[in-house]
């Protein structure tokens, strides 16, 4: 049987509604971030999303900014990020996607970055600051390597551009639940759900909802409204931030957290 591509593996991950857990590669150190990733996997996440640390993360709120900084201060490099993926791959086959800022990819060269990502075991790449208008080179690399090219859709995305995005996207579509940057919010906005309906009507590609999601009730509501996945970032990174120096506690708390979110998702399926 031919090897499954990253795109196939991601689509399969959302056959049933799934949970996407985000953490920053190398936060608070390379070895601890591997342990944290394993805990998220043990908790039952369906997709692991690894943030690639960047000096200037303009789409991120203060929690993830601080995580990027911890990772960079601890010496993470692009090679080191691929190393984290390889370590996780020894443990699990769970689909892994990168959330990365363009300059990291650009600097390495699209082809080399995608090749190295594939070799390490990455299934999808979301380049946060690369809109579809600027995606030509990335799409060629994605096509060639079978790595899914994930795009954001937001409340400000026009109908016309939504059509362009669903045509280009593979793996899943990342629906941004609110304006602004990453970080916890009290509620998931009504606008997010009308956008969700709009996207679902246009494409069969799975749609996962993120930005500001942290609680079980958010997850339940998102799945009830028809999403294929729930993405949590800042709430996970906050646990790391609050328990720095106590990796064991971070891992056990996160494992339980992912389990509870996963249960909430299954209950609404």
């Amino acid at each position: 049987m031919a090897e499954l591509s990253g795109k196939d593996r991601l689509s399969a991950a959302f056959k049933k509604p799934g949970f996407v857990a985000y953490t920053v590669a190398g936060d608070p150190s390379v070895s601890e971030s591997v342990l944290i990733s394993k805990a998220l996997i043990d908790g039952g996440c369906d997709v692991l999303e690894l943030g690639v640390p960047f000096s200037d993360p303009v789409a991120d709120g203060s929690v993830i900014q601080a995580a990027d900084k911890r990772a960079l201060d601890a010496g993470i490099t692009t090679d080191g990020v691929f190393g984290v993926v390889k370590e996780i791959r020894k443990y699990s086959g769970v689909p892994i996607v990168f959330l990365v800022y363009l300059n990291i990819v650009f600097r390495r060269g699209f082809d080399r970055f995608y090749d190295e990502a594939k070799e390490a075991g990455v299934d999808g790449i979301l380049i946060v600051d690369m809109p579809p208008e600027e995606a030509e080179t990335a799409l060629l690399a994605s096509e060639r390597t079978g790595i899914a090219q994930i795009f954001l859709v937001t409340q400000t995305t026009s109908d016309e551009r939504l059509d362009m995005i669903v045509k280009m996207a593979s793996g899943f579509i990342y629906l941004v639940s609110s304006l602004g940057v990453t970080g916890k919010r009290d509620d998931v906005s009504k606008e997010a759900f009308s956008l969700l309906k709009c996207v679902k009507a246009k494409t069969k590609i799975p749609v996962a909802v993120g930005f500001g999601v942290s609680e079980k009730r958010h997850a339940e509501e998102i799945i009830k409204e028809g999403a294929d996945g729930v993405i949590v970032g800042s709430a996970i990174v906050s646990v790391i931030e609050k328990n720095l120096g106590n990796c064991e506690k971070i891992c056990s708390e996160l494992k339980n957290y992912v389990k509870s979110m996963k249960d909430a998702i299954i209950s609404k399926n």
Binding site: A59, N103, D129, E134, T156, T157, S158
Partner: protein, 392 residues
């Protein structure tokens, strides 16, 4: 020479998160609609002349000319209201924002000059202003913080990252993505995603357009050389652009800082490599992984790791020469102009003065060298006096 829409050669583009794309489209189409609109132009022109004090003089510097052995002129952007060229851009963008129905202006600032210019434009046009400024810059430029506050602006000190202009810009972009439906991000230089570099350039071109006319009137010919400092590059492109197709030598002067070693300068075109920051592909001071590096300059306004994409193109085409001046040379130039001409230049502008002083042998007796005096040095007096061991 532009290729794809929003590009300058291979540089530029719109590299922002999806949330901001709609706003860039809106800005692009509204600017296209308004830029040649008679009412828009006449309102801007009347603010520029009645309020900002344009046109600014092209001052012949007798003493500096004698010293340099050529004809030195200063384009006096220091005399624009607010003390720098920045108001040319902020008035234009604030009128544009109001016409677009935006209710609020946000801005990033380094030295505080752009923040002050935005506060001025917001006050006179009736739009509330919030300014993001690195903590370190707030400390270096306390007076400008107070100036902004006097004019009703709210200043947010930014404590993330380098605590300077780069991170103030990150924070302004984040705030814009939260409030994009009613806020205009009034960017302060020819940087950022398309259409900002074009809009800011167009509003700054008044510098070069006036210079060209004034020089022809005074000397009967075009300047031999134009010299301007380059941070993001707005005063420089404003000076150069109207004469790009003429036989005029052009020199942009970057911040050489303490040395050309990484982290010790802001000389992006001299020491950087292509990369993507703040929405555009341009030269960037970064490490091999693409992490953006710390910069240093004696002048906060040039303490920035990026540069406008059009400058990257002009650099690669070799149409414009990009030199640099070191901190100590800049301080010498600051004193020189103060003593010989009675004009205290901004430390940013002193980079351009320094180039001409240092390279005076390059110029012939009849050469007309125009330096863009992008701002006055009053804002820098406290900092420089401290360096001379006199603290007030």
């Amino acid at each position: 020479m532009s290729t794809k829409h929003g590009y300058y050669g291979g540089f530029g583009g719109r590299f922002v998160p999806e949330t901001l794309m709609a706003a860039l489209y809106e800005l692009d189409s509204e600017y296209l609609r308004l830029k040649d609109d008679a009412n828009f132009k006449s309102e801007l022109n009347s603010y520029l002349s009645e309020y900002a004090g344009r046109e600014t003089p092209l001052t012949f510097c007798k003493n500096m000319s004698e010293y340099c052995g050529c004809k030195v002129y200063l384009k006096r952007e220091d005399l624009v209201h607010g003390g720098a060229h920045k108001l040319n851009n902020t008035l234009g963008q604030a009128i544009l924002a109001r016409a677009m129905g935006k209710k609020r202006l946000i801005a990033e600032t380094g030295a505080g000059q752009h923040g002050v210019a935005t506060a001025i434009a917001g006050a006179v046009l009736g739009l509330p202003v919030e300014v993001f400024m690195g903590e370190e810059d707030c400390e270096r430029q306390k007076l400008n913080v107070f100036r902004m506050e006097l004019m009703g602006a709210k200043v947010h000190p930014v404590s993330s990252g380098t605590k300077t202009l780069k991170d103030a810009t990150n924070e302004a972009l984040r705030e814009w993505s939260k409030t994009v439906d009613y806020t205009h991000y009034l960017i302060g230089s020819v940087v950022g995603p398309h259409p900002f570099p074009e809009i800011v350039r167009d509003f700054q071109c008044v510098i070069g357009t006036e210079t060209k006319e004034q020089c022809i009137k005074k000397e009967g010919r075009l300047p031999s050389a134009l010299v301007a400092c380059v941070g993001g590059g707005s005063n420089a492109i404003g000076m150069f652009y109207p004469m790009l197709n003429d036989d005029v030598r052009m020199i942009g002067v970057e911040a050489g800082g303490k040395s050309l070693a990484p982290g010790e300068n802001g000389a992006t075109l001299n020491t950087g490599s292509p990369g993507v920051l703040h929405g555009a592909l341009s030269y960037l001071i970064q490490n091999e992984d693409g992490q953006v590096k710390e910069t240093h300059s004696v002048s906060a306004g040039l303490d920035y790791p990026g540069v406008g994409p059009e400058h990257s193109m002009l650099h690669d085409m070799k149409r414009v020469e990009y030199a640099y001046a070191m901190d100590d040379e800049v301080l010498d130039a600051f004193s020189f102009l103060s003593r010989t001409e009675g004009i205290i230049p901004a430390l940013e502008s002193s980079h351009a003065i320094s180039y001409v002083l240092k390279n005076r042998d390059e110029f012939e007796k009849d050469d007309i060298v125009v330096i863009c005096l992008s701002g006055r040095g009053d804002k820098d007096v406290a900092q420089v006096s401290k360096m001379y061991g006199r603290d007030f």
